[in-house]
Symmetry: C2
Subunit: 474 residues, 2 copies
């Protein structure tokens, strides 16, 4: 907001008048804390003592009316507004590129309704995933949505960044789980789409805001599906000779119409780390295959799934590896910060997806690119009947601190170009943010101008998270 | 287009230059034939000799380049363009309200790719549903998408009107089946979204065009999921004492995590007709419950499903009623025209949906409204874990021919108001068109201005199917 000739004291008073002085901060510690998310490059900057994009204000609204009034104010004053959930995004989506107001929704964390007949839960967008899940567990239900950031991500963040949970093969992704949304537009207007399992009443406006990463409005509330907590859960490790045979097994499991909760295949490097820590002295590729739900169906699905795996040359490792994964399934979101504390280190995750016919070419192309400068391991997860995502984890070391950012950007340039060349999507579930914006026009296949037009139509003053998704503040 | 000062001869020459003179018609027979779809009110007008909305031209493009060039021309000349599939819409969505050019896509009917590994099929939008399905069947696959209009609806029509198939509980609705779209914008620009099982790269543009009913562009091609043709199919009739116990059975089947292909419950009147024709001398409510897929899973799901039904008081009628339904499942789309040939008769279908907790109130409210003037029967279908749709079929008779339209409009006014009052969605899968546009703003819960803004942004000259979805030509 430095380029805006705004009186910060005056704006602070106006914000305080709307949400109370205790909910508006210009304290340096807050501005620094909200200047980044978990984007590795932002953490590298932090390590180097740089804070390139501090906001001017951090605010904590408590009601949708407050959000609406603040947006009206910001819109009238042309002040940038950046919605903020739990800050666990890994693409720089919440960086206040042009300063302005970071709107932290964490005080809007109430569960508003649990509909046990209609199997839906309505909650405010600021609720943390694990809090929502536990509240449902206590009533005998589950969301079935388990991003690895479960403890440090919010409902609103899931929606804004199009999250996927680790059991999405069975339960669907966030867009499948969402029956209705409440959204505040930049004008302050509040939209509440109808909570319905389905409708044919025109285009589905929900899907416009899901994945919009705060560029079109603020999601303040959502109604999601929930399901009865599964009666049974069975997880199993199966060892394959190579990536190819493991992928064939997953593809055939999905093709058969089975609905695994988990189907995660680790490549050789990733298997080495995963199984090595368990004391297995083996080489190959580990598949964690899990089924859950009704006990009889789960048993039958597991039997049919295992049959396919053995036919494809898999070796049954029993329940150990699967249960180990389950116990540690949220660890990854905390690990990166540790690695990054080492001087000159780069740690990153790259997740892409495509249809089965192009999956191995995509894996090989992106891997080859990453291996030019990184130690690279990968797993395949979020299987669909039509395809699968690939999740690369890479570690690299820059010769000097100064060269870190350049190396980081070269790694991404190579990976994204390799992905697009094969026809994969540049992100399966981490989103775009600042990081992947340069490749979004190519991703969109001629549709990018449509996104630009939508942005202009819904946010004519460009106050909503300006500069994200490549939508540059004009 | 009568209000436009356009030289029709000149426009005809320009169109012919793009798509060839044989693909442009101003013949009176064509203009009358394309002046209506299967909207019952349009059929009533036809019975009365009225042709209120004839187009000025009917054209049959054969390539996306031709569609693009025509849209550029129409956009420059501000000539309305109405995309047309197979004309089986029942809401007046294709009526050329302001004249102009009806673009019949039926010559764009090629299957472009069958990806047997990635389980997708890419086809042009003008292909008829049954042709696409049979081509896949020959290769051992199925779409799993069976609208009752299967023989008289097109891929593009399914997408434009957000279709649902009769087995959607298992296979999903058209928006779930669509991996990628090709769309031509009013500017002539061609968009091709990426064929991917999923992406987190910003908002999902596909979902903007699905359900847009031709108001934002012309869908020219799509990539859909397909699945291996099911190994087994089992259909069963179960008789319940009343609607309530039958609905409870469906709700519990879905809650258990079973995936019936069909779960159709007929209310007393509908059962009377359905079972009466089979010679059953019973009263109550018939449920057709079907499972399909892998043989072992199908058997287990059917056993678990039947257990639930019997526990809820259902009486197993064996396979007869289910198989009868399967054999006649497409008949309904042909029946209406017969009834409407009777003088002063009105025949209509009203399909709404909501979550389970509001489903019986919705049924009772809409039924009460319809019964004020109609013989009314209903079935419940398209079950979800969260809710279900209700499909009313009504027949009424107007005292005179002149009063037919007024009675028709009163029937709808009452039904839609009753639906909205309970919180149901005004359409589960028939779409909006002209018929339901008056209630769309209320349906959208404050979001209707967003739709208006989108329309202005993407179609600034308002050439795309003007006047539909309530988007009035300014």
């Amino acid at each position: 907001m430095t380029q805006l000739a705004l009186d910060r004291d005056e704006l602070q008073q106006q914000l305080a008048a709307i949400i109370g002085p205790q909910n508006v901060s210009r304290r340096q510690a807050d501005l620094v804390a909200y200047s980044h998310d978990l984007w590795p490059l932002a953490l590298i900057w932090k390590r180097q003592g740089k804070v390139p994009y501090p906001p001017d204000f951090v605010v904590w609204p408590e009601t949708v009316e407050e959000v609406s009034a603040m947006l009206r104010l910001a819109n009238a004053r042309r002040v940038p507004v950046v919605p903020y959930g739990a800050g666990s995004g890994v693409c720089g989506g919440t960086l206040p590129l042009h300063g302005g107001i970071v709107v932290d929704l964490k005080k809007m964390h109430r569960i508003l309704a649990v509909n046990q007949t209609g199997l839906t839960v309505t909650a405010q967008a600021g609720i943390i995933g694990e809090d929502l899940e536990r509240a449902l567990n206590q009533r005998g239900y589950t969301l079935g949505h388990f991003p690895s950031s479960m403890y440090c991500s919010s409902l609103g963040g899931w929606l804004a960044a199009r999250a996927a949970g680790q059991l999405s093969s069975r339960y669907g992704n966030i867009e499948d789980l969402t029956l209705g949304l409440q959204v505040v537009l930049p004008s302050g207007q509040v939209i509440r789409t109808k909570d319905t399992p389905r409708s044919a009443a025109g285009p589905d406006l929900k899907q416009l805001f899901i994945g919009s990463e705060g560029t079109l409005g603020i999601i303040t509330q959502a109604t999601l599906r929930m399901v009865p907590y599964p009666e049974s859960r069975r997880l199993r490790g199966v060892l394959f000779q190579d990536v190819h045979s493991g992928l064939e097994a997953i593809r055939l499991v999905m093709r058969r119409g089975l609905r695994p909760a988990a189907a995660r295949l680790y490549d050789e490097n990733d298997t080495n780390i995963a199984l090595g820590s368990l004391g297995y002295g083996v080489t190959g590729c580990l598949l964690v295959l899990g089924f859950e739900g009704d006990t009889q169906l789960t048993e039958l699905e597991e039997r049919l799934g295992l049959e396919i795996c053995l036919r494809e040359g898999g070796q049954d490792l029993g329940t150990g590896p699967g249960e180990h994964w389950w116990a540690h399934r949220y660890d990854i979101s905390y690990k990166q910060a540790d690695i990054l504390s080492n001087e000159n280190a780069i740690s990153e995750t790259v997740e892409v997806a495509t249809t089965w016919d192009k999956l191995e070419p995509l894996y090989l192309a992106v891997k080859a690119s990453l291996e030019e400068s990184c130690f690279t391991m990968a797993h395949f997860s979020h299987a669909y009947p039509e395809g699968c995502s690939i999740y690369f984890t890479v570690v690299a070391e820059s010769p000097t601190e100064r060269e870190c950012e350049g190396l980081y950007r070269r790694i991404w340039q190579g990976a994204m170009e390799a992905c697009l060349k094969v026809g994969g999507t540049i992100t399966h579930h981490h989103g775009v943010g600042l990081l992947k914006a340069p490749w979004l026009p190519q991703e969109y296949g001629g549709g990018y101008p449509v996104l630009q037009e939508l942005k202009k139509a819904l946010d004519p003053n460009d106050i909503m998270n300006p500069g994200k998704l490549g939508l540059e503040r004009g």
